[in-house]
């Protein structure tokens, strides 16, 4: 009897399990191609990351990152070319410095530091991209939904 009653409850619980929303700013030349490679290689990785293609990781304004959190993202990933491989020669060096400051500011304000991440993913590193997203999703699932910066509406 109890098995019959508990089965649907269990199913509902699983359906309600928290699925994080991740906004991934991917540079067009490396990380975006890397995520494409992960796709065409049929790698299995969590579908939680919404890719947004940007021309360069250096073009990601801190405002984009904060705005993503404000609009309800549970995590934000900024990914670009490895240092020295930037299509625009030095865009990712600028990004590195800026993102470092954003990360420190988010930490200072009391947001969990695991919610914001930067990675270097080249166009050949489909497996690395899949791994980065899988790790990110795993860490954010442990943290639960992001409420601190989310606008209430």
């Amino acid at each position: 009897m109890s098995e019959v009653l508990e089965a649907p409850v269990q199913a509902k619980k699983e359906a309600q399990e928290f699925e994080p929303k991740i906004v991934a700013f991917l540079c067009k030349w490396c990380s975006s191609a890397g995520s494409d490679l992960a796709g065409v290689s049929r790698l299995q990785y969590p579908p939680n990351a919404v890719p947004i293609q940007v021309m360069c990781s250096g073009s990601v304004s801190p405002l984009y990152i904060l705005s993503a959190f404000n609009k309800g993202a549970d995590g934000v990933l900024v990914s670009g070319c490895h240092p020295g491989d930037c299509h625009y020669l030095k865009g990712n060096f600028f990004a590195r410095r800026r993102i470092y400051l954003v990360q420190k500011l988010l930490k200072f304000i009391g947001l969990e530091s695991d919610r914001f991440r930067m990675s270097w993913v080249s166009a050949a590193e489909g497996t690395k991209y899949a791994q980065v997203v899988a790790d990110f999703v795993k860490d954010i699932k442990a943290l639960g939904p992001q409420r601190k910066l989310k606008a209430k509406n």
């Binding site: 801190p62 405002l63 904060l66 705005s67 404000n70 240092p83 030095k90 060096f93 600028f94 590195r96 410095r97 800026r98 470092y100 400051l101 954003v102 990360q103 420190k104 500011l105 988010l106 930490k107 200072f108 304000i109 009391g110 947001l111 969990e112 530091s113 991440r117 930067m118 990675s119 270097w120 980065v132 790790d135 601190k148 910066l149 989310k150 606008a151 209430k152």
Partner: protein
């Protein structure tokens, strides 16, 4: 100690020769303890200039405002503006020079060293005096301030009434000046640099989160912090979006879909967004004059946000804002040795 007569003499010389269009300084205010900023254009008014521990304002703000006002004028007076600058004011002037917002020949900097002192924090003073209203405050030797109230005089320890930024200040003398009044004093021995920020950074994540939630909750978005900041000189601010022109042909859909980076509602999340965006915009530019914190009507410790990034810039990038107008800005430069470990 800096003799006010020296400053007045120099101001008189500049005005008499017609070398400057005005001397920007402080005079006694008609209300309250703090001196008020003044534009001295007449020789008769030079005698009203004062210099003491109540001259808290950052006068670099008026260089920016004056620049804005001049742009709208048909025949602007192009003579330079003389400005009395403390250490923090001069750093702000340096940043403005670095960003080419003002040119070096547009300003005559009358640098004044704070020497062993600093400026008074009226909130701290009110706490110490327990409701008695101070009418005058002056240094009585190093390390003590004589405060006059209606019921008499009291000598207070400087470390109890000086503004936090002055206690933590490492360079309490002008970094740029045409004339320097007072001695450059490096040893001050009040408090260590970034002490207040470090205390917040040392909290646990939950404590920090609760600390800032409590403060941001109170923000009423009056934008006084933005109005008083000499670095917030943008014509259009991201929180205003004044460039979205609503006319008779603007459809409801266009209005609904226009980009709103930051909402104007005063929810804690949106307030946090606003203050973080401001902190990011001031990264490597904020010179820690703490005017934002002073003018805040709800006592949010805004200075901490900016000093936290300033301390990061110093520790990781060896960058100090406002020291050298020729250095590239923090955000528009990089080094190979920048931190890379945080990137996956």
């Amino acid at each position: 100690m800096v003799a006010i007569e020296d400053i007045r003499t120099r101001a008189r010389e500049l005005l008499e020769g017609g070398k400057v269009r005005a001397v920007l300084g402080f005079r006694r205010s008609s209300a309250g303890l703090l001196a008020e900023p003044t534009f001295v254009t007449e020789l008769n008014d030079v005698a009203s200039l004062v210099w003491d521990a109540t001259c808290v304002h950052n006068l670099a703000l008026y260089l920016v405002n004056e620049k804005k006002r001049q742009k709208a004028e048909r025949n602007p007076d192009t003579r330079p503006l003389a400005v009395i600058a403390k250490g923090c004011d001069s750093r702000a002037i340096n940043v403005l020079l670095q960003e080419n917002h003002i040119a070096r020949d547009e300003v005559v900097v009358l640098g004044v060293s704070c020497e062993g002192g600093g400026v008074i924090d009226v909130r701290k003073l009110a706490d110490v005096l327990r409701g008695k209203e101070a009418t005058a405050a002056a240094y009585e030797g190093l390390g003590s301030v004589k405060v006059t109230t209606a019921s008499g005089e009291a000598t207070l320890a400087a470390s109890d009434v000086l503004a936090d930024r002055c206690l933590e200040c490492a360079t309490a003398y002008p970094s740029v000046s045409d004339v320097l009044f007072g001695e450059k004093v490096d040893e001050r021995g009040f408090s260590s640099r970034f002490a207040a920020t470090k205390a917040v950074a040392a909290m646990t994540e939950e404590e920090r989160s609760a600390f800032w939630d409590g403060h941001f909750e109170r923000c009423i978005r009056c934008y006084a912090c933005r109005a008083v900041c000499p670095m917030c000189y943008c014509d259009e601010c991201v929180v205003d979006s004044t460039s979205f022109i609503v006319g008779p042909t603007t459809t409801a859909e266009e209005k609904a879909n226009r980009i709103r980076w930051i909402q104007r509602s005063t929810t804690p999340a949106d307030n946090a967004m606003y203050h973080m965006v401001r902190a990011m915009h001031l990264a490597g530019r904020c010179v820690d004059c703490a005017e934002c914190e002073r003018v805040c009507p709800v006592n949010i410790p805004l200075r901490l946000l900016n000093t936290s990034l300033e301390s990061e810039a110093l520790e990781m990038f060896e960058y100090t804002p406002g020291t050298d107008p020729a250095q590239p800005s923090l955000i528009s430069s990089f080094r190979d040795g920048d931190p890379n470990d945080f990137v996956r």
